[in-house]
Symmetry: D3
Subunit: 243 residues, 6 copies
């Protein structure tokens, strides 16, 4: 059985990671998972929020948003509505937590990195593309800071890599990296965030239709772990190329 | 090794489910998981939100909040700050999704049930207590509606039961139903929502400290599934007693 | 003529004052006036708001809210609407003023007490129950602070007691402590706050229907003063019992 | 003993009521109580809010605000802060209730009158000046509607007049119509709204310093009733003059 | 061809500038351009916003608002809606920029002047009347500060005068100082702010109907420059009279 | 004298107009003026806002925003702050007015086009790039609607083209199309919107430093008109290429 776009169940969409997309940000990446395109910028600033001052530790946080016409029908701007929706809040928090899982805040020193992930075009998997791109932007920002001597020599603010992928069960079949049409039809939908040594940072599985059993959960985790492994290679390749 | 409150790793805190706590709501439950106390009310109203009218299907949603002094230090009211925080949003959405997993919206007909879960006292596991209590309140509200002939005879708006529990790894040991002090120290924290036939509705695991591996994930899922099984019995017992 | 719940015109509903309801707050009271139940917590913190720093004086303030299903039909949460309604504002301000009337802010020192009054179930008279319960919670918080030596020995931050009751004219008859059904039908509605030595702190009378004359006003004030006297005794009894 | 501005205790400040101040509004009055100046406009529109449609009854409501520099030091605009303060809410509600006390909403028919009371200059007593001026603006708007045949012939939407005045105890002496300096020093402050036949619509007394006793309360009510009587004459004189 | 109110195309409406309108503000002007009436107050305070501290320079800013019934039909209050509309924002910013064009912030020293321009009655040209009146209020506030020795002797915080006027093309004819009815019908609408030596501070022209050509633009600029010249004389005359 | 980037005073930066940038929107353009990059999408929907229903006329509106790190230092998101700033409001309104100047709303029929202009990277002139790009997106959306027969055959919803450019005086020299560094140093800054037949839609000139005289204004208008002429050619070339 082939998928809507011809992939096999365990196949990622084409992934591109374009570094240094913006001239202003300390790190900036345009990441695409198929037709999903997210602009991830890492803004490095000296100093930390008030509640962390004097701790000797840095802070890393994320903000996620969609352009109003990133999707098939236009959505209202959250700035115009005057408040951020629950989904946006949830994904922003997920991005921050995921990146902090590979940051040694003490090695970062009292500096802050904000990861802005703005979805320019959406076709499923925007949060997982965002995390995967944001890691590369973060790595570039840390390298920039090291070059500027804003982080100490000899310390490693990044303890490893992190990437994320969605998996789900569609018509009873576990699939990797759902596009929008698959996502809408999925009975179960899961987002998995892994470190580059194959451990889990986040596992968020939701039964959209029927509840899922342990066997299905295991199949999804297998797919996701393999997918994150591939993404880690793509990130490493991007970071090795000239920025 | 015994836990801070003397429990074994696989032991729940004392659970109480007090039905008909409020005279106004169609279903109302004061649930406690140890010192965590949540008031869950189910408000049944005829009609559905505009976007669902004419569909023949009902709607079930949840709202979660904490009283300002439910916690050890007072938190500002979200009404005073003028906006709902990300955590509140996230938990409200989780409660709604969890309950909808056991609702046949077509059998419910064009009726709405809002599940308000207000934390009166917090000691860890407020979201899982909320889901567990809200299911009982929902069952009472559906029974009320059936008695009032607001749902058709012969249909079953509830397709099963649902409960939730937290699990986590503290000092390397997987523990069931974390109290606040354990939660703060957990390296990995997971909330699991299960149906009463043992399938999963939601699995949300987060590495607060070091990432977790597949073996640890499996141990946590085992603990959670067993804990939800016990909670399902407590819910059934409460629903069998005179309301 | 007997009232809807069998009381005489000058009779209070059954009043209960349950201290130490919450494990976290410095003072906490679940007060009930009949079916009206309000959870009052007193949060004592060292320090005062910026505008009062260095004055040597403390600060006492109140916040009032209703759970969404405290009433017969569910109300929207003010946090979700993003703003506090006029009624909530008005009652919060009334609670703060009423309690400050018996506080010697200089004796309190530069400390702050916030009185949160959350209505768990409403059946008329929520603001008067809130004030009556909040006084007991405040007294417990002050005693806690004295034990912790956060207020000076030998000073009395509380200059007396304070309680409140509603009165109104229904079908031409002045009644004490209106329940919801009476409140809806009242031509005139008055809330009176008194000290425990029988003086007035607040008198708020409103003609809901026909304006009222001086004779009616006097009858209402007589009823209210007597009612507050009884409430002062109930408060004293509660404070004398083991907390 | 003479007051700060030379008045006797039972003397009002000079009161002026200037009708037809604005060319747009159906009724508009610039009222002054000494240096307190409030612009009151009555906007008459056909139709009522959604919740009142089909009832055959009209609606009257009030909104109060201060210009930022109406006071001695500039206050932030509530529009800029993005929310209305508790004091503004409270006074707006008071104005609406006070005017509705003299409106027969059935005779008004399904029409709405909004009374906007904007304080151009404040020197104490702004809410009482607002109510006193708003009544005259309302009377003019009703006359306008009658001329336009928007209210039925032969019915009387206004059942009487209404005015308001502040009273208070300063240095132990009950005073009528406090200016700002007296207001700040008052131990007890009371706002009283009366109909033109001498009955009470609202009585709001607050102990700012020491609680007050029944004798003091009576003295204040006497002063206020006499003051409202004088204001009713001033309103009548203004309405008799050419608009 | 004569205009709706009998003026010639190059004629201003009657302009009045009433100083010292308010007893509280350091400068206050009630300005009228025909039936447009704007109350402009200048609030002088020592100190500057945080971002300007230590710069040795002062700050001047403007806020514009309309009373709800300043216009022919009542508009909702921006404070009630909880946000400021785009038009209000735009005009507030224009007022601030226009006044700053004639302020030497270094000579002003670390002091702030806020110019509040509240439209009491609107009939076209409210923003231009506001700027014209605000300049006079600002001049009075600066004189007040000089008398209080809050600005240094021998420096001139004001480098010149500033005034503003609207022009537009109605039925093909360029007109000066449009009233509301003309404004509504204008094909092109332009607001021009000039210094009292005839140079431009702001030129804002908008094609409401057909785009305009260079010849039309020139005709409008000629009219506006002449109009501002007349307004500068009126401002000077007002400032020479006893305040 | 050559400019910071080597241009002559009357030279535009390199302009690129990339059509069909997004797969979802009916029209979408990535426009760049040098390093300024704006994504403009045109969302065509059937129907109009409530206030325009039944008029037979369509509606065109614009919304402008910047990504938080479009600029050299990161700005807070307006969605997070909960309100839109004055500058954003002003530019959104300008974009809407500018595009409506070339739309025959009757020919458009009761359809709505929203032009979202999101700045991905900023280097001066973002609003003028936005208008220039939005016109091309609008033309594509209208062509799409014509192909879908959502606009009538034989009518022309677009009456012409529209483009915009900034001009300013830097060190006394009038310059076309300012980059950020020039913009910051400009004494006078002007944004000009022209139709493709050389008439003006908007002229907004502001003295940032010294006021400007008529001769300078004329020089700026000459530069802007020539610049818009070049931009009109670039738009036409883009629209002639395969979309």
């Amino acid at each position: 059985m082939s998928r809507i776009d011809g992939r096999t169940p365990e196949q990622l969409r084409p992934v591109t990671i374009e570094r240094a997309w913006s001239k202003h940000a300390e790190g900036s990446v345009l990441v695409s998972f198929g037709d999903t395109k997210v602009l991830c910028t890492a803004s490095f600033t000296e100093g930390v929020p008030r509640w962390r001052r004097g701790s000797g530790e840095g802070w890393v946080t994320g903000e996620y948003a969609m352009l109003p016409r990133a999707t098939n029908t236009r959505g209202d701007r959250e700035s115009v509505r005057g408040k951020i929706g629950g989904r946006t809040h949830e994904i922003s928090r997920l991005i921050g937590r995921s990146l902090r899982a590979v940051v040694d805040t003490r090695a970062l020193g009292e500096n802050t990195v904000v990861l802005d992930c703005d979805v320019l075009q959406a076709d499923g998997g925007t949060r997982t593309a965002a995390i995967t791109g944001a890691y590369v932007a973060l790595a570039d920002a840390v390298a920039w800071a090291r070059a500027k001597k804003l982080v100490k020599a000899g310390v490693k603010p990044l303890t490893g890599g992190v990437s994320a992928v969605s998996v789900g069960i569609v018509d009873g079949v576990p699939l990797l990296d759902l596009c929008y049409e698959e996502d809408v039809r999925a009975e179960t939908d899961m987002n998995v965030v892994c470190t580059d040594d194959g451990r889990f940072v986040e596992v968020q599985g939701t039964a959209e239709g029927a509840p899922f059993d342990r066997r299905e959960l295991n199949a999804l985790l297998d797919l996701a772990a393999a997918g994150c492994g591939e993404l880690a290679l793509a990130q490493a390749a991007a970071l090795e190329s000239a920025g």
